[in-house]
Amino acid sequence: MPNRSQKSTRILTGDDSASMRALLNHALTAKGFDVKQADDGQAALEWLAVNEVDVVITDINMPRLDGFGLIERLRAGSRHRDRPILVLTTESSDEKKARARAAGATGWIVKPFDPEKLAAAVRRVAH
């Protein structure tokens, strides 16, 4: 059960799949996190321009602005330069993982995700 006396870790998820957003929302809110959701990288970028979070979780393959582009744009500005960004993706190639790392991602998680492992990763990188 989430400890309501403590401030919840705030998470923004970016994923174009409504089904995946529903799974993430269910898994993360059940662990006591405060979850907001964007349906692609551009929506995530616009939301983050005026809102604060503790951790960003993003898919790679999204319309308008993909996960690589989102990470690059966030790292290019000062507001989210040090924000932990976890990539959650169906992609498993080393080339894509290296690209995410070079763009400034904090971690890499291959779907299908395990709710316990995802929550542990969020707690570990949140600061």
Partner: protein, 181 residues
């Protein structure tokens, strides 16, 4: 064309867990389904199609009885959609067909129904129009899909032709592992 005439197409069998995509007019994807479900996706603007074939288990610690392993199902559907998008498809243009989901053995768990329900609900949630479905019942089906044109033929076949008996195996890698950089 007589029913026994050889197909001029190169026929590729789509096995459980696979999700091939093609725009080759000479290719035909084919599969035989019992309880399994096959999704055919087609982008009419670029003449690209893809097909998957899966059987989701009921998770041991299912929150609600009679529900499929949605986590894995969403992953398998996303793999097909991403393969289409990588080849130039637009998710907004995709049209879907669903086949299979039969309950071949009366009195046993209705795993086919569970899988068909998952697939329908997924498409609704993703706003991908379902152009045609042939789901449920207690007969095996053979599905032939020409990905370049979106043409599908679905026929009832003898249950003995169905080789599937087990849920689609998950990838060998450890699921959901986290790598911090």
């Amino acid at each position: 064309m007589s029913p026994t005439a050889p197909s001029p197409h190169q026929r590729l069998t789509v096995m459980q867990g696979h999700a091939p995509v093609s725009s080759d007019p000479g290719v035909e994807f084919t599969t035989v389904l019992g309880s399994c479900v096959a999704t055919c996706l087609y982008d009419p603007e670029i003449g690209l199609g893809g097909m998957n074939h899966f059987l989701l288990a009921e998770p041991a610690a299912s929150i609600e009885a009679g529900q499929a392993d949605v986590h894995y199902g969403v992953y398998l559907m996303e793999m097909l959609i991403n393969a289409m998008i990588r080849r130039g498809a637009s998710k907004a243009r995709l049209r879907a067909h669903l086949y299979g989901g039969a309950n071949l053995h009366l009195g046993m768990a209705r795993i086919g129904t569970m899988n068909a329900d998952f697939a329908r609900a997924f498409l609704v949630r993703e706003r991908i129009p379902l152009a045609r479905e042939d789901l449920g019942g207690n007969s095996a089906r053979r599905v032939d899909f020409r990905p370049a044109t979106g043409q599908v033929r679905c026929r009832t076949v003898a249950p003995a032709l169905v080789s599937e008996t087990k849920p689609t195996p998950r990838p060998h890698r450890v699921v959901g592992d986290v790598e911090l950089f």
